[in-house]
Symmetry: D2
Subunit: 366 residues, 4 copies
């Protein structure tokens, strides 16, 4: 599993299981001189903390981060930044049937087939807690992006069948409801929907939208590391995400060229587009317009209902997943999508610095 690394220059390497000693990430390649404190990272981690609403698990997780290296007197030194978040709950309690049963919708079965051995405590490496490392890295990436005026923001576009149409967005309301939707009204309906599912011991999914403003034109490295391609990998790599789209995405496939093309126009010497069906990406490069991406999140796989499955002996049996689980993980995944987007943009921002001889001369003063 040498796949726990992401990025070419702003490179993150994550590690950790849900019930091992801890979760962490090494960020290698962050430029020197960036102001950074544990508090800066904690703010991001707190956004994914559970128990913040009746729709998220009540498990008491206090995930506090420790900076182990790469920062001196409040600034990054250009050396690897190592971050550690200790797991609170490590006691070898009874994980019941998870050890011997394959939970539907979970990675238990393929993990066991691939590695033979599997850390079955709470999902191990494939637990949602793995995202702690992504969010910690995302916090650093966001600070780096802010240095050049780039901002990234994610929110809940839909919960089950309840979607907020773009014309009804109220960004200010995102933090006013526990589902992080840009519409308190839709959030209220979605909340009732979730409650009804909880009563039926069922779960649901939703859509997360992420936007980025202030991007310089030209971020992205054709042809395989295009802006949209790396964002697709970054977001799809988040557990439970089953689809990714940029701009009009799937809707564009049913449109026509005359409607889907965004005309360019010039105003006060700056070039922009009259519409943004492209979602800020042309030919895999940022085009100066707002970056827009959406992620489809599947319903929580852990449901209290009894389900058919197979045990490690290969025998047919039933399973009832115990413990408290989020009826919907979308609200907690919002900051994860935002973080992976920030990490991707930070890496492409640095990679773009060597695009021309002009840049080389500028840095070396020739």
């Amino acid at each position: 599993m040498s796949g726990s690394e992401f990025g070419k220059i702003f490179r993150i390497s994550t590690w950790g299981e849900s019930h091992g000693p801890g979760i962490g990430v090494v960020v290698d390649g962050c430029p020197a001189g960036l102001p950074l404190s544990e508090a800066d990272i904690q703010v991001f981690l707190d956004r994914r903390k559970p128990g913040q609403s009746k729709y998220t698990t009540k498990r008491n997780e206090t995930d506090s981060v420790e900076i182990l290296s790469g920062v001196f007197e409040g600034k990054t030194t250009g050396t690897p930044i190592s971050l550690l978040v200790r797991n609170q709950d490590q006691r070898s309690r009874d994980y019941g049937n998870i050890a011997t049963l394959f939970r539907p919708g979970h990675a238990d079965y393929p993990f066991t087939e691939k590695y033979v051995i599997r850390d079955y405590r709470g999902g191990g490496r494939s637990s949602g807690r793995e995202t702690i490392a992504r969010v910690a890295a995302g916090a650093i990436a966001s600070l780096l992006l802010k240095e050049v005026g780039i901002t990234v923001k994610a929110y809940t576009k839909s919960i089950g069948p309840y979607t907020v149409p773009e014309e009804e967005y109220h960004y200010s309301e995102i933090t006013e409801n526990s589902l992080y939707m840009p519409s308190n009204e839709t959030a209220a309906k979605a909340g009732e929907y979730i409650s009804s599912l909880m009563a039926e011991r069922d779960s649901c999914g939703g859509m997360i939208e992420c936007i980025a403003d202030g991007l310089p034109v030209g971020l992205g490295e054709p042809v395989f590391d295009k802006l949209d391609a790396l964002l697709a990998q970054a977001v799809m790599s988040i557990g439970a995400v089953k689809g990714v789209e940029i701009g009009d995405g799937f809707a564009a496939s049913a449109s026509t060229g005359s409607r889907n093309n965004d005309p360019f126009f010039s105003e006060n010497g700056s070039i922009s587009k009259k519409s943004n069906h492209a979602g800020g990406s042309l030919g895999g490069l940022s085009d100066g317009s707002r970056l827009i991406l959406r992620a489809a999140v599947k319903p929580t796989s852990s449901i209290a209902r009894t389900q058919q499955t197979v045990n490690t002996k290969g025998e047919n049996t039933e399973i009832t997943v115990l413990g408290r689980h989020d009826p919907v993980i979308v609200p907690r995944a919002v900051v994860v999508v935002e973080s992976m987007t920030a990490v991707t943009l930070a890496d492409l921002l640095l990679r773009n610095m060597t695009a021309t001889i002009g840049h080389v001369r500028k840095i070396y003063g020739k």
Copy 2:
């Protein structure tokens, strides 16, 4: 632009512009002993050739491949395989206004901003001809996959608003209609739709679906190089693709856990799933079921209609894209999606070989 490489072990490095001397790819890391000939690759290249139906451009392109290295006496030697496809049309003809105008929907503007200099002849590096290298590499990857019983197949799921529902699939019909749809009936309707758009000098897009069978359980490298994550990057990196989904994808976000979870069951000692909403990927690893992914392709950006745009001087103006262009590129992109899927699977197949100590002992006979 150091982004023209894909894969960790089965690594492809592509190059070439539409009107330069040629297009090519270097495949490094293909195991030695694989039977390979230029004919094997030509079969794939011919599938993306234009002029095969009235819906694709009439440009006369005969793309014949030459193997420059890595093959000896009909077999791969384990050394880099270099493939070259010469461009026929290199004469420095008049590219008209493309050189000084930014075509809506194209990469002209961000490319010029990023690199200052731009090869404006027919789109240069961002031309659809770039995919020739992807398809050539895909041919080799497919042969490698076939060695272990893995098959990959792509087809047109929809053209504009005309979609083939799964229950009406007739795989045998895919090669019977020039749109590569698994339904001649829908293909006929879609054909009329395309004709009507051509009359209006407009274009359309569509959806491509790709399936893979025979995958061993466990392909994928968590947490960033998961099966679905790398497929998302691979497919989204194809020009004109604006969205990617696995299994139920976006539909899953509106479903519930009880409906979306695929129950496991055991039969004759082998484990499988009663349904496949997951599309063959659990926790980012192949789960033994059929792999299913869909790509959303936007409408062709080059349309004969007059559009508003800006020139390289930053002045507002109009553009009418000349020359013959496909009213829909979906049919020609089918083999490209299939090829990128094959390349991704080939790399993960090789990467999975070091997953356990058992595998290490098996290879080294200890």
Copy 3:
């Protein structure tokens, strides 16, 4: 500084400064099922511990390792293995003039020029303590190699002008003298030499030799990741190493083809070489003979003598490096060279597993 990673499949990512919270490494790509405990790693760390002889600093460093992830019930799980070694001495004591003066032979000056900011506490990232992470990773690599019968051993070939000629090697004596030389007699003379230098507040260097037995034929990935090429990078990346050679190395440049070529011969069906001037590497691949490499280690840069230098203001001045320092670091570097060799071999061992279609078929049972 995104250069703290080494290896393609068995990938290590190190971090940490000498006086920060700790030093560590993330090992990603180690096969699942390898028995591993903190004790296994501690054995290696103890070999580089200071204060083991009168020739090494008396600083009291007890470097105990903690496994933070990747191991479950005594075995590796195939997920990233995170290792942490806390630094004992973190109190912000007076680092005297190191903060404002550039120590001759040290990285102070170029680090300050490159990153502007520098963690001047005890050398920061460029401190010898950085090698703790290399040794911890080397312990895991050595266990992996042992699974297929590969052993790696390093020792001190020379201290200053005192060299042990190959014909006088007594491997059993390596652990009998505090300089880790394969000759107690030479070690005694070298010891007196070191004592005399200490009296003069001076230091010396030496040569470390590393051998590996049991290598399968064919390890190495031409043309840039050849066995000898990666070993050269791995060993030269160790602080204080100024030269690397394989087999006869520099001596070969003064030899002739008839003397330097190693004739092949066959015995009982196995092929070997009558001599080993090549040091076990032909064309960048292991050839079945013993791997032999040597590293040239420069004299300790930190000496108590007053030296000319420049301060951070760019003014000429003098410096007297305070504190206890090893008069020679060679003995402590022995395990570091051995570890980097093991890490390199472990990665190439795994990379070689995909060399042929035969191997692919063997793993997937086709």
Copy 4:
């Protein structure tokens, strides 16, 4: 063999066998706007051409390069630069016993063990012709370095036992003798030595020294991609190179700290060193002084004498390597060492551009 790639940003991917259709390289990541023509590259290729003196083979090789992509109107576009050099001699002539015998000193045996199949025509991938791709890439790297005032120069330090001491260097004489030595006098003696070896159907090796001036302070990416570490890999990866050293190298291992440390001093506001035992590298970063490295080249393995060996059946036998071979490859390897040094420096030059937040702000104008 996925090891034919070198560099992280200025990334080169080489391919080709000695008697296949051709040899080539793809350079991905070269900044846009660099003036480049086939003539610029040809100058470098001509320097490694054989038949330039009586000490190099008389084979008639005219290696002319073709630029296949990445250059438009005389300048690089930032897209991959593909270079092709066709092989002249491809006719399937009789390679005699090379196909069935393992040549001593060559890669025949380990290649066959690793890949089972082997292109035995003239050494295939492990032929000296492989270096054509390195030199072609080196030409581009050198042009890039020149843009910021960095120059790289290699020459022959010694042939067999004939060495030119530094105090007798006459750089102007390097191009005056066919051995590329900085001393016509020593070159004359070395020439006689080579002639005598030719009479005995024997061969010899030598040492190549490479220097680089104008390097900015701070090039190198600790801890594994240090300047000296990557140079060691780059140079050791060249066939026949058995050792690499920086500055005083192995001699430093016998020196003392007081003699080996280079004192810093300041003059007219610029910092430099009073001596350069370090060879321009401190802590793995360029220190502003001249970079100095040496490579030990083994004697040519192909000698006309009859040697003992084993055939592919594993039987003991004899071999007499036919055909014309250089009695010493050092003169032709000079440009290869220079090229690999240039490629390494070009990559580190670009990687260093993201070292600080100050650089990021400078590029993005914030």
